[in-house]
Symmetry: C2
Subunit: 455 residues, 2 copies
């Protein structure tokens, strides 16, 4: 028996109360649930799909330990027979999903789960939690990449992400979306991402003088030092960095960069570049950090700031301008019967579905169409692929480098107006005729059945 409750319990209690009601009323047939995003947050016209390996791990391992069952029993809300059943439950269903790094649009299903309804229902909380978080962060990272125009990017947000788990997943999806590395050592070890980092203000202030702190650091890292120069005054600090850099040069060593972490980064970068060049140190790079996001990186790049690399932290780590989405996991078919919600602003598309892309010869997306799962649209590539059958992965997860290349191709294939940082043009996603007909029919049937009082 485990000492700690397991991830099986990471589910909203209503998934379990529904499960008991399904079970007791014999409502246990196969169901399909669709996971999709209803709306774009501000300034977004696409999403980058991420989070699939955590979902598949969860489904493969889903179970309630004796410790979990004891806890549920203590709530005095569940029947003993149902708890016995729950103790034996495993996920036995199928999953179709996008490949991580794929760009997608609102209302397109990104994961579809087909399984006995109780298994699929219980998974809702974890699936939405992981896909929502990782997709938000990957999408944010892709915007920074777009703004940086090829300059190096390092994830600096370990301390400001919402927990250790979020920090690690952030580092992974930033790398997937083209960042060069992370400051998060644990994420480096977990995912094989390049790690990066040099010194903080505390290091500088601990020494009795700034220049001595630089000299000591250079001794420890003779060829990989970046000096943080804004502890007392950025230009004064740079002058000291220049002195030490020349001392290093005389010894056949090289200062890699100086880091600016505050103030007017455009103006300071220009003045620091002049100081370095005048001192015969054109090889010393300028690294900038401090409150950066895609908007600020874009401003600096557009203004021609002589900055070689950016460390982006806080605002990217929590996707500050869009920390949540309207991501939903909805039942679309039960026992072969397509179903939907009628709520006027949240109406869902019934039945299992497929996302289609029509592309031109350069792979640029021409049209996006949501169709029915069985449909075949001539000339279009389907995006949802079966990744799990009978509760088991069909193949190992792609490598992070594979996903990184996949994202790069995907991103290149999206036209610029949809990638604008402010007010991007929404992509016109259509619904196939077959799906439209199905939806009309199910809406009519449901209205006729449910919207007449006094039954």
């Amino acid at each position: 028996m485990n000492a700690e409750p397991s991830l099986g319990l990471f589910t909203d209690l209503y998934e379990l109360t529904m499960a008991q009601a399904y079970w007791q009323s014999g409502q246990t047939a196969t169901a399909t649930f669709s996971l999709f995003f209803r709306k774009y947050p501000a300034d977004r016209a696409y999403f980058v799909f991420a989070g699939l390996p955590d979902v598949l791990d969860y489904l493969e391992r889903l179970r309630f330990t004796p410790r979990d069952i004891d806890y549920l029993r203590s709530l005095d809300r569940f029947e003993e027979e149902f708890l016995q059943y729950l103790g034996q439950l495993r996920f036995t269903g199928n999953v179709r999903a996008l490949k991580e790094g794929t760009l997608f649009f609102v209302n397109e299903p990104v994961v579809e789960v087909t399984a006995p309804i109780i298994e699929a229902q219980l998974a809702e909380t974890m699936l939405v939690n992981q896909i929502n978080l990782q997709t938000i962060l990957a999408t944010k990272a892709s915007r920074v990449l777009h703004a940086a125009q090829g300059r190096r990017l390092i994830d600096f947000a370990a301390r400001r992400a919402h927990g250790v788990e979020a920090a690690n997943k952030l580092a992974r999806v930033c790398y997937l979306a083209g960042f060069d590395g992370t400051s998060n050592t644990l994420a480096g070890a977990l995912f094989g991402i390049p790690v990066s980092g040099t010194m903080a203000h505390s290091y500088v202030t601990s020494f009795t003088s700034e220049i001595e702190s630089f000299r000591h650091f250079a001794q420890s890292f003779p060829n990989s030092s970046t000096f943080l120069v804004d502890t007392y005054d950025t230009l004064e600090g740079t002058k000291k960095a220049v002195i030490v850099a020349r001392e290093m040069k005389q010894q056949g060593r090289r200062l890699r960069a100086v880091r600016l972490d505050s103030g007017d980064l455009l103006e300071l970068a220009r003045r620091v570049r002049v100081l370095l060049d005048q001192a015969g140190l054109p090889e010393v790079q300028i690294f900038a950090s401090g409150g950066l996001d895609e908007f600020e990186v874009d401003r600096l790049v557009q203004a021609g700031a002589p900055i070689d690399a950016f460390g982006v932290g806080t605002k990217v780590g929590v996707s500050a301008d869009a920390p949540w989405t309207d991501c939903a996991y909805k039942l679309v078919e039960y026992a072969g019967r397509p179903v939907l919600k009628l709520n006027p602003r949240k109406q869902t598309l019934p039945g299992p579905k497929q996302d289609f892309r029509f592309r031109d010869s350069r792979a640029t997306i021409l049209r996006a169409i949501i169709g029915c799962a069985g449909q075949n649209l001539v000339g279009a590539a389907p995006l949802l692929d079966e990744v799990m059958r009978g509760g088991k992965r069909l193949r190992p997860d792609p490598s992070l480098d594979d996903l990184r290349q996949h994202f790069r191709r995907q991103f290149a294939a999206l036209a610029e107006p949809h990638k604008a940082l402010r007010c991007p043009e929404p992509y016109d996603v259509r619904i196939s005729e077959e799906l439209e007909n199905l939806q009309r029919r199910v809406v009519e049937e449901t209205r006729a059945r449910e919207l007449t009082s006094e039954k």
Copy 2:
């Protein structure tokens, strides 16, 4: 040897590069670091301190496993002798901190760590990560509590929090700040928080009719059912709930509540209340959810909406209007020498410190003063308490119920203008004369030393 890298590696790489530089230059004396919040996010004039147990757990367990050391060795950046040292490192320092649930203001230290500089430096990433996250969420939760004016509150954000870890910590700090429960079953099991939940739209749509879905649920939960009534149409759904509630009543059972999850909650709650009352069901409560935050809860409560309980999710779970803070962990003393940064907008207060509160006879806060650690201000209560010495907790953590009561007293003692949801009045935090003199002296010395070019 562990299969997975350990939490020891959850540190920005620069903490480790600094550690090697400290170590190689013999810069290994005792240091004090202060953790504090520089600024308020929008619409905030106080914070609620949270996250301490995770910090103390981390410090007590801090170590680098052989697996961690192997990973660091593979980076080809660290000296073998330093890695040997790191493999033996434990946290041996002292920690002074606020009690969780304590209200505090900008610039007040909330945690001070005194330890050999390498140990204290390495802890930065995890300490900021946990205190920042949990304080943000506890502060947000306190605002919802304030708006709800005594109505029941349930945390519904498990799926939208940034990961499983964030969801669990959210549920805990919401309860600490006065919520009645959570939908997150795992958090319920981990922390002994009451759990709550009934049904989702998928449950309703899986049945061939809404009324049958209610009847089946009532059979499974004869005395604890809440029917979700907006799947097809809120008022039509309520009429069906009324039919089933009367059937239940005839059997001596009772429908607990109906839940509204969309639309104009004020208008719908009024009409649903009338339907329930006219049907002789005054005991059936109204539960509301769907995109709620403190602003919307306030609007509904002020308008007298007949809502008995709120489920708050997404926007509270990520603190949507303030998902990050300017939380910092700065060196304030090294080897007995007080230190600071000079950066004009981010100047720090030197030396170990203490937070003081002057209160009136009803415990209302009259004045808040930041002083030096050793100071004694007559009539004032110090807030930072030693919680760890020599790397070990001095006592067990307080219970969650104790912390909940502590928060309630703290919150009652803050005057209303500082709790306003919009544009609250900032609290005037003063610096003691002793600290002011120390700061002036250290600023002058540092300027004289660092701000003259050509050394």
